[in-house]
């Protein structure tokens, strides 16, 4: 059933429409928001099993044949990323039912959430460069609105940077696509891969390849294009930050992995060292930025940057094992990061702020929260038996096999620093006593200020809303633990995905039919 390929796009669209039409009832929105994401998760599992067993699935939209129409293609890599959207989307939808305040929900939080999920899935599934641009825009417009929803002053300050930089990236993307089209006369991934493999002068392709590198690099927040991220991600409520951290930058990573493995492989002598340098610098700069922070959301935002470096490292080494590790790592870091932001959201809700100096005593107050944080943080730092360990292990092994010792050393050192800054959060927020005595159970948050923008006034917590806070955290932490315990079958699957990326013939044949 090839309609399976478009289901991950249709389900969020239907949920968005339903929540939009039932705007007036907050309860109905919660229910549809959650069931829609649950259905999306089910569809993405179905898609992954279908692709895993039956090979690449293709749907030519509207029945127009490739390369003239728009193809939607689900290979193992795409299907894994769609599954990631399903898991993260479900967790965020449940969490949002408790953690997003009513005015935001009335304005249309859930429709926007689902349109964002649709955009992300569209970007993962499309087999056409211009269509990828369109999905990026869908995603960005939804994220612009989510970022400013609520209209607090700091949100606008963060959003202006986000919008400006991302529009610049879109422009470069569009120019790159234009140049590429001028050169090859096609924008279909499979057709591009075929035509560029026949090209007589590969150095000319580098111009558009580099435009795409910068455009996707800005979206993925790699060095030196990362500066917008730590300024804009911390400003919206934690549910939205977790969603962005889990999915948005990963779409940039996906686009880099996809285009620089099946399309732009004409001049690997130039692109591989470039990726290795970018990877190393991104890791180091990100983690150093994180170590210097004393506010939880900003600290974790810098870690997003640092972790992107590992995925790039896989692209720079460019062996089957390295790509497999990069894909596994992308899945792992999205889950772990989203889990951490959900924990931070609860801390912000409990204490009204997330400044590490003034926090404390959370271990005594909520041991469950502390354990959830610890598991996600250790996974992020890369300790066994969590997913982070196997992700980094695979990447490091790939690096050693191809004798890229410098990047391996950098990766290991950055892991140490990651662990260090995680223990900093642990020590400051959870372990130490609260400065100035024990706070009351549910203190009233202060008004938002420029230094501490993360405050929104909520009704008091009930048992039901506590459950809505904790179920998604449990879900995501469980996924990161299971990904570690079941690393073998998952690495087998990411290995299959890497094989498909390194041997694009199969992809080309599936999309274009038999190629002369």
């Amino acid at each position: 059933m090839n309609v399976l390929v478009v289901l991950p796009i249709l389900i969020p669209l239907v949920s968005a429409v339903a929540t939009l039409l039932l705007r007036s009832s907050v309860r109905a929105q919660n229910v549809i928001g959650m069931t829609g994401s649950a259905l999306l998760l089910a569809a993405s599992i179905w898609l992954l099993t279908a692709v895993h067993d039956g090979g690449i699935l293709v749907q030519q939209l509207g029945g127009w044949k490739a390369p003239f129409g728009i193809s939607f293609v689900a290979d193992t890599f795409s299907a894994l990323m769609v599954l990631l959207t399903g898991v993260t989307g479900l967790a965020i939808a449940i969490y949002s039912a408790a953690a997003v305040d009513e005015p935001r929900r009335r304005f249309g939080y859930f429709p926007l959430l689902h349109i964002l999920l649709m955009g992300v899935n569209g970007a993962f599934l499309t087999g056409d460069m211009f269509n990828l641009y369109v999905w990026f825009e869908v995603m960005l417009i939804a994220s612009f609105v989510l970022l400013v929803l609520g209209g607090e002053r700091v949100q606008f300050a963060g959003a202006v940077k986000y919008v400006t930089v991302n529009l610049l990236a879109s422009m470069l993307f569009l120019i790159g696509a234009g140049v590429l089209y001028g050169k090859t006369g096609t924008l279909n991934f499979a057709d591009l891969a075929f035509k560029l493999s026949q090209t007589a002068n590969p150095e000319l392709v580098n111009t558009s390849a580099m435009l795409f590198l910068v455009a996707f690099g800005i979206k993925a927040a790699i060095f030196p294009f990362f500066f917008w991220l730590p300024d804009s991600y911390p400003v919206p409520p934690a549910a939205i930050t977790a969603l962005f951290a889990g999915l948005l930058t990963k779409v940039g990573v996906y686009a880099l992995l996809r285009t620089f493995s099946i399309i732009f492989v004409h001049d690997t002598g130039f692109t591989q060292p470039l990726f290795l340098v970018l990877a190393g610098v991104t890791m180091v700069v990100g983690v150093l930025g994180a170590v210097a922070q004393s506010e939880m959301k900003r600290l974790l935002s810098f870690h997003i940057v640092s972790q992107i470096g590992y995925a790039l490292m896989g692209l720079g080494i460019f062996t089957q094992l390295a790509l497999s590790g990069a894909i596994y790592f992308t899945l792992h870091v999205a889950i772990a990061k989203a889990a951490l932001f959900l924990v931070v959201g609860y801390v912000a809700r409990k204490r009204g702020h997330t400044a590490l100096k003034q926090l404390g005593g959370l271990l005594r107050e909520s041991p469950v929260l502390a354990v959830l944080f610890l598991l996600a943080a250790l996974s992020l730092a890369g300790l066994p038996p969590f997913s982070g360990f196997f992700a980094k292990f695979t990447l490091v092994r790939a690096g050693l096999e191809s004798a890229d010792y410098v990047i391996v050393a950098v990766a290991l050192a950055v892991s140490m620093l990651t662990l260090f800054s995680m223990t900093k959060i642990w020590g400051e927020a959870f372990w130490k006593e609260t400065p100035g005595g024990v706070p009351s159970a549910d203190i009233l948050p202060p008004a938002p200020t420029v230094e501490n923008p993360l405050v929104t006034v909520y009704p008091t917590l009930t048992k039901a809303s506590m459950a809505l806070y904790f179920i998604p955290m449990f879900l995501l932490v469980a996924v990161t633990v299971i990904m570690g315990l079941a690393a073998e079958p998952i690495l087998q699957m990411t290995g299959q995905a890497a094989d498909q990326l390194l041997n694009p013939t199969l992809y080309i044949e599936s999309v274009l039919g038999v190629q002369p």
Partner: protein, 143 residues
């Protein structure tokens, strides 16, 4: 604010814009036009009403909240893919139905038109959501 010229002009211009928007919508499949452009034109007709007489009047003319138009339009556009889905063809494959009418000849109806009508309403809703938000922000500032 009472701009007499704007009000008189709006009175004549906005019905014309709405009718032309329908023409554009219908000729869209093979000629320049279509749901998107038609929707923009229709929205500009209503935006003109909002400028000349205030957004409350434009909202009354629209009858439903513009966001309902977005939802309804998307629902229409989405449902135009269902015939293809039911017959196992790729999503959104176009189907045509051309009944012979007396005097007029064949009238081409089909899922692409259905889709375009959905887009038409979506664009009207989306544009007016923004226009009303900006207009009402200004009106609040003034008083």
């Amino acid at each position: 604010m009472s701009a007499v010229i704007l009000r008189i002009a709006t009175k004549y211009l906005s019905p014309v814009l709405l009718i032309v928007s329908l023409v554009l919508l219908l000729r869209g499949h093979n000629d320049p036009g279509g749901g998107f452009i038609g929707g923009l034109l229709a929205a500009s007709g209503l935006a003109l009403q909002a400028l000349a007489y205030g957004s409350a009047r434009a909202r009354r003319l629209l009858r439903y909240d513009p966001r309902t138009f977005i939802g309804g339009g998307l629902l229409l556009a989405l449902s135009s893919g269902i015939p293809a889905l039911l017959s196992g063809e790729p999503w959104l494959k176009g189907y045509w139905w051309k009944p012979e009418l007396p005097l007029l000849g064949a009238l081409p109806l089909g899922t692409p038109l259905w889709f375009d009508i959905g887009i038409y309403f979506t664009v009207i809703g989306f544009t007016l959501t923004i226009v009303f938000a900006l207009a009402e922000h200004d009106e609040r500032e003034e008083y």
